[in-house]
Amino acid sequence: MSETLLEVRNLKKHFPITQGLFNREVARVRAVDGISFTVERGETVGLVGESGCGKSTAAEAILRLEEPTDGSVLFDDQDITTYDDQELKGFRREAQMIFQNPDSSFDPRMTVGESIAEPLEIHGVGPRSRREEIARDLLDRVGLNADDADRYPHELSGGQKQRVALARALVVNPRMIVADEPVSALDVSVQADVISLLKDIQAEFDLSILFISHDMSVVREMCDRVAVMYLGEIVELADTETIFENPQHPYTKALLSAIPTLDPTRRGIDSGLTGEVPEPSNPPAGCNFYTRCPEVIQPDAIDVDQAAYRGVMDLRVTLKRQGIELDGLREFVGLDDDQTPSETDIADMCSELRREHDIPDRLDDREAESTLSEALDQIVREEITDGVEQLGELFESPCERTNPAPRPTSAGHAAACLHYDDEPVEADTGWVPEAAQGD
């Protein structure tokens, strides 16, 4: 059997937004928009990203707790998206899940022993006494003692509850565990306990783990390979050390540089990221990250300082996605509603627009500066559409047009970014690790 236990191919999960009486679909939240990766036997793969990037939805779609909209999931070389209920139930025994919030992971009316034995009860295993015995044995193995079985969840601490969750996942002797932020709700000292237990159990039972987290330091501790997700897509995937030592995708770099270091002498926390994650119901065209990317590619026509270009792009993004409310601007400059703006007011409003988007007063590229100031002038005089058009012609970045597929980088792994030349990495899966690539 091949070494790969789980292979996800172009998995998509969209949630329709409906409105009005007949639930017409008006928009789609593209929570997971085509991700592909593999998990080897006994390997831990991390799925990392900020809130709203779709990592938890991806996990639930992989286990078919949420029906995927598209794509396939191969477990042991069989596509579970085609399974019927009976086959699915068999698969459920082989892939288990543990959750973030220890308090809501257990039914308050069931004892710890009953909770651990519940998967056995669901699969109709043996009489009650046998299930109980198995549960008690498992409690020892996760570092608690057997007679905790009769206690109720509210009598245990957060760390102990996560251990019981692990026992419940193990009771059906699974081959893969999906851990959705298992330690995020715990204190640092308790986190260390649960992480080392997870590693010991993985080693003992040769488990593959899909580890989901927003905490990069925990991921660095736990995972062999890491996939970084942004707005429903994987932007970079490589083994852990490479990602931390030599990140290629601008978002990964920003994510890592935002992590506070422990060494007070090397301060300076600046992820360079401005703005917020866009709405997943209307993701930006082209590369999802262009609306915030500090390294957004400038069109050949202009050559401007990168920070200034980012400022202009911020202005264009605001114009495109939310629009500018001129009366707010007029009020800022002190104009009454009906008063027609004088020349100086126009100039003030233009410089306010520049200041608000960190655009310097003069761009060093002469042609770019004239186009920009002209466009600003039009916008402020309420001819917004012409201003936007004019800006678009000159300043439109290639990143807005194409949504890059993963491309090989100098660091030996792939990243979905136009900075790297457009050579397809691998046949269809896109993220097959080099090892498999070779043979």
């Binding site: 459920r92 039914d107 009316r109 519940e118 669901i122 015995e133 059906v172």
Partner: protein, 384 residues
Amino acid sequence: MATDSFENIDWDDQEVSTINVSRTTFVELGLFALLLGAFLYDYLIIQNEGPLVANWDVLSTDWLFIATLITMFFHIVLPLYQNPRMRRFYWNRFKKNQIAVLAGVFLVFIFVVGVVGPIVMDPPEVRFTNRIVPPAGITATIGGATKTGTMAAPLGTDAKGRSILKLVVYGMRVSMQVGLIATTFTVVIGALVGAVAALATAIDVGWLDEVLMRYVDIQAVFPSFLLLLLLVYLFGAQLWIIIMVYSLLSWEGVARTVRGEALQRSSEAYVTAALASGANMMYVVRRHLIPNSANSIIISATVSIPGFILGEAGLAFLGFSDPTVFSWGRTISNGQTNLSQAWWISTIPGIFLFLTVLSFYYVGEALRDAMDPRQQVDSGGGGL
């Protein structure tokens, strides 16, 4: 032998999981079947003429009362008996509220006397010879004649010479029957509707949930007392009709609670965990959603019982309740005419009614604090 461990489960022969009906549910269903059989026998065969068992002619309300007692035994007494740890946990928190404990004892007293009393004591009979006798040891002048109460009628007698003590004891049974039967039916109907509505949303049959909830909104708006008057007028004032009308009119609170609880719990992690281990929706409802809403059902039940008792008493006071039944409301109403001299006729049953209702509210409050910490105001944190 070495303790069994999960590695040596042989998974090939574990494929099918049977829906196993637990022993206790089996016994419960058996008892209900027995009850139904007896009722049909009494109703069809002996056309409700003679007494069914020994000399006890089981009346309509009694059938309902027996069914209620069976349900209460299997769903409240037995579960508490079966897991002592849960019982101790709730009892420690409940007994922090001394008044509630006192109220609980009083309610048990009312329940026992209400059920046993009428069996032991013959019903109050009209004897004009000793009309309007004050309670033992109290002297009062009624229509010129002064009388002092004797132990024959410790609580005195009413305008028709009936002993107030007997009237009160029989009144206890009526109130208990009304309160418990109506509440049990409301809980059963409400839980059913609530679970169905929650299940409908869970398996994306949205319209069913919408229809049920819209009806619940309407029923919540209706002024139940007015409708009660209308229905009792239209369908007759027998006690069991009043109880059934009450049950059919006021289950919307339980339905909303159960639906809300079920929906909120179905998004909890332990339900996803069960689904991730291969459970289907029916298993989740049976094993997680219904038992977990038991707490809030019990809390809303203890609040609805006093409501029913007060409602029936009000109805009886106005004279629209079952004349053959000695409801407290009726006794109080009869005492209204000679209120100034014979104050005890209305006052004594009123005190019992008031204390019973008050006790239910206090027990309900303490149960909510004990069972549902979420609603409890935690000491630390926000506030002034």
